[in-house]
């Protein structure tokens, strides 16, 4: 029975010009064309978007939550990457 199910697609929508596409949810569609149209019909009924991306869910690769410490904690002590780490004399402007 699962064979007859249309593939699952992840939907990303740009809500207005200048913003990133943002993940809004998923839906089923037989092909990419239909996925975009379904996304239009399902996720933009209230002017939520001006551009749509769809990706078949099986093509999304995600990081493993178990790796979270190894992945993200090492960035914790790199304070020198942030501008507030540096002291600029008050008399210096535009920096």
């Amino acid at each position: 029975m699962t064979q007859s199910e249309w593939p699952l697609w992840e939907v990303f929508i740009r809500s207005k010009q200048g913003l990133d596409h943002k993940h809004v949810g998923s839906l089923h569609a037989a092909d990419a064309t239909m996925a975009i149209q379904n996304a239009r019909d399902v996720y933009t009924r209230r002017l939520e978007g001006i551009s749509i991306w769809v990706v078949e869910s099986k093509h999304v690769h995600a990081s493993n939550p178990d790796d979270a410490e190894a992945f993200y904690d090492p960035a914790n002590d790199k304070v020198y990457r942030h501008p507030t780490f540096y002291q600029v004399p008050d008399s210096i402007k535009h920096m």
């Binding site: 089923h28 149209q37 019909d41």
Partner: protein
């Protein structure tokens, strides 16, 4: 009266006779969107998959929106204080002027897709021309509706192709649907005497001018769908002059139920 395409005309510049003709014609357009929208809305909750339930409801909502603009304009043209709802709900079956195609039952999804495609192919190309009407209200309504119709045509064309070039069963079903519905497609582009009179004024487009583009699109879709274009079918007409199939009466029985049972109330 012949209106040059470049000039726009306002309501009050029409002769009473032309105004009456235009009123009848706008009603015909409104009835058409109303009845097709009504049919599509019957699918709500019963579609083949949730995503397509939403898609069909969107098309129905577009058509109902177009319906309302048209009835509102018709009411103004008539100038007798009738409202959009009076016009939509309180006329007799013979007074409805929609073509026969749109009142045909939903049948299975294949019937609905075929009906929608035959209509959309006309509707889109028609609105594209109506946009240039010297009648500024019709032009404005067409301007908005044509964007919607472009999407409808995309939807129904793609489904024609999917079903035609899908499985053996889907092909047979679509074939059967076309066998039934094709005979109603000719009425869309066959002008009635009333339409001819209006076409002569330049207010509405000549249907003959739409045919090449309609045919080109239809041929493309049928080719992709691997379907033969039906040939030599006798074309049924009458709806646009108030002679309907038996289906319309049942639509009106539901559509008018509340307004007929409780006359003159606000809802």
């Amino acid at each position: 009266m012949q209106v040059a395409p470049s000039e726009t005309v306002a309501l009050n510049s029409y002769s009473p006779e032309l105004r009456q003709q235009l009123f009848q014609y706008v009603l015909q357009l409104a009835d058409t969107s109303l009845i097709l929208g009504h049919r599509l809305s019957e699918w709500c909750g019963h579609g083949p998959i949730l995503e397509q339930d939403l898609a069909m409801a969107n098309i129905a909502l577009d058509l109902l929106g177009e319906t309302r603009s048209l009835y509102q304009y018709a009411a103004e043209l008539e100038g007798q204080d009738r409202t959009e709802d009076d016009l939509a709900f309180l006329r007799l079956a013979v007074e409805y002027k929609n073509p026969l195609l749109v009142e045909q039952p939903n049948g299975d999804f294949g019937d609905t897709v075929a009906r929608q495609f035959l209509f959309d192919n006309f509707h889109y190309h028609f609105l594209l021309q109506l946009k240039a009407s010297p009648d500024e209200r019709l032009a404005a309504i067409a301007e908005k509706a044509v964007k919607e119709a472009a999407y409808h045509l995309k939807w129904s064309s793609e489904w024609m192709i999917r079903l035609g070039d899908g499985t053996e069963e889907s092909r047979q079903r679509l074939d059967k649907a076309l066998g039934n519905l094709w005979r109603y497609s000719g009425e869309l582009t066959t002008p009635t005497a009333a339409e001819k009179a209006l076409q002569a004024t330049g207010i509405i487009p000549d249907y003959a001018g739409l045919l090449p583009k309609m045919e080109a699109h239809l041929n493309h879709v049928f080719q992709e769908a691997t379907l033969p274009v039906p040939q030599g079918v006798f074309m049924m007409t009458g709806g646009k002059e108030g002679r309907h199939t038996e289906h319309l009466g049942y639509i009106l029985a539901e559509l008018q139920y509340m307004q007929r049972t409780y006359p003159g109330m606000r809802w």
